[in-house]
């Protein structure tokens, strides 16, 4: 679809787990994002539309939705990038999560799994001690760096086949968080964390389909982190330390 088009046809999911797509016509603008389209619908056409956003600049991770069948961060996705082989936008709530209303999903399970994966940093130093020194070029620091920019948008979780097959699976985001902490030399909760993320619903459920890696808007590779966790857990199990 070219910019010469004066308007976009957009189908937006209305309802909860049950509902239907409603069709709207939205004016086409230059550099228009998917979030701009949704905002136009809500402000100009139908104020009852529910959706979630905050920063609009790709930092907060709250505006992810299913755009033409693919999970994306809507504030940084231009309409022109989606309307390549089609003239119709279809916007739905993220899959693999319960729908509260319209485009807003309930992220409770998603973040509960971060807690289950022991995603909290646990150190020993207090504010009265000096800072820990971690060399930026150390292997652990570089491994943690590769996954640390996660904004918790849920795109990877929504895209993951294994989550759709096994709802108890911790998912790529929680495991990516665990991987960054597994490489944090200051953290003292390592054994408990590895015990929490191993097993049937943990890192061993991942089939390395790479959908999370392909879709992550921050170009993080949770697949690589999960593979790292599998190796770490495998080594500990072989030594009888798990």
């Amino acid at each position: 679809m070219s910019l010469n088009a004066k308007s976009i046809t957009v189908r937006v999911w209305r309802g909860t787990e049950t509902g239907a797509f409603h069709t709207y016509t939205v004016p086409r603008f230059e550099s228009q994002t998917i979030l701009d389209v949704v905002t136009y619908v809500q402000r100009e056409l139908d104020p009852s539309l529910s959706y979630r956003f905050a920063c609009r600049v790709g930092m907060c991770g709250s505006c992810a939705m299913l755009v033409n069948g693919q999970a994306r961060w809507t504030c940084r996705t231009h309409v022109s990038r989606v309307l390549v082989d089609t003239d119709v936008l279809e916007i739905a709530p993220l899959s693999n999560l319960p729908v509260i209303k319209d485009l807003a999903t309930d992220m409770t399970v998603f973040f509960d799994k971060w807690a289950k994966a022991k995603g909290q940093f646990q150190g020993t130093r207090t504010r009265h001690e000096t800072f820990a020194q971690v060399r930026p070029d150390s292997a652990e620091r570089r491994a943690a760096d590769a996954g640390i920019e996660c904004i918790g948008c849920g795109v990877c979780y929504s895209s993951c086949d294994v989550v759709s097959w096994r709802p108890d699976y911790l998912g790529p985001a929680a495991l990516n968080r665990a991987w960054t902490l597994a490489n944090d030399v200051r953290d003292t909760n390592q054994l408990e964390r590895l015990r929490a993320i191993a097993g049937d619903a943990g890192c061993h459920a991942c089939h390395s389909h790479f959908l999370c890696t392909e879709r992550c808007p921050k170009t993080i590779s949770p697949t690589a982190g999960i593979a790292g966790l599998k190796k770490k857990v495998g080594r500990m199990a072989a030594k009888g330390e798990l």
Partner: protein, 115 residues
């Protein structure tokens, strides 16, 4: 009793190790089959080469063992994910498969290389 974490970690590395073995063995197996049937080959000709051969016996014994490790772990995962069976039933299916593969596999190895 090992925890689920330990069981899954062991299953993971055993499946990887057996996969490495199978990658090499399947390649050799296919290469032998393709080379052996050049110009046609009868059952008696095959048995003539394999019977009494220690190399064939050892090769296929290891092949059967690698299959007996690799297949049940994978099938148990598939049964849980796509068949939605309980972990207990998946384990039972895996054990039955191990018995079947070891039983039928060694019977075949015995029949082709010893009898």
């Amino acid at each position: 009793m090992p925890s689920s974490a330990v069981t899954q970690a062991r299953a993971w590395y055993w499946q990887r190790i057996s996969a490495m073995v199978l990658t090499v063995f399947v390649g050799i197996h296919l290469a032998i089959m393709i080379i052996a049937i050049h110009g046609g080959l009868s059952a008696s000709e095959i048995l003539g080469r394999t019977q009494g051969s220690l190399a064939f016996g050892l090769f296929y014994t290891l092949f059967v063992l690698a299959c007996a490790v690799h297949v049940p772990i994978g099938v148990a995962k598939i049964a849980q994910e796509w068949g939605h069976v309980s972990p207990g039933l998946a384990r039972w299916i895996a054990r039955m498969l191990t018995v079947a593969i070891v039983g039928m596999g060694f019977a075949a190895v015995w029949g082709v290389t010893v009898v």
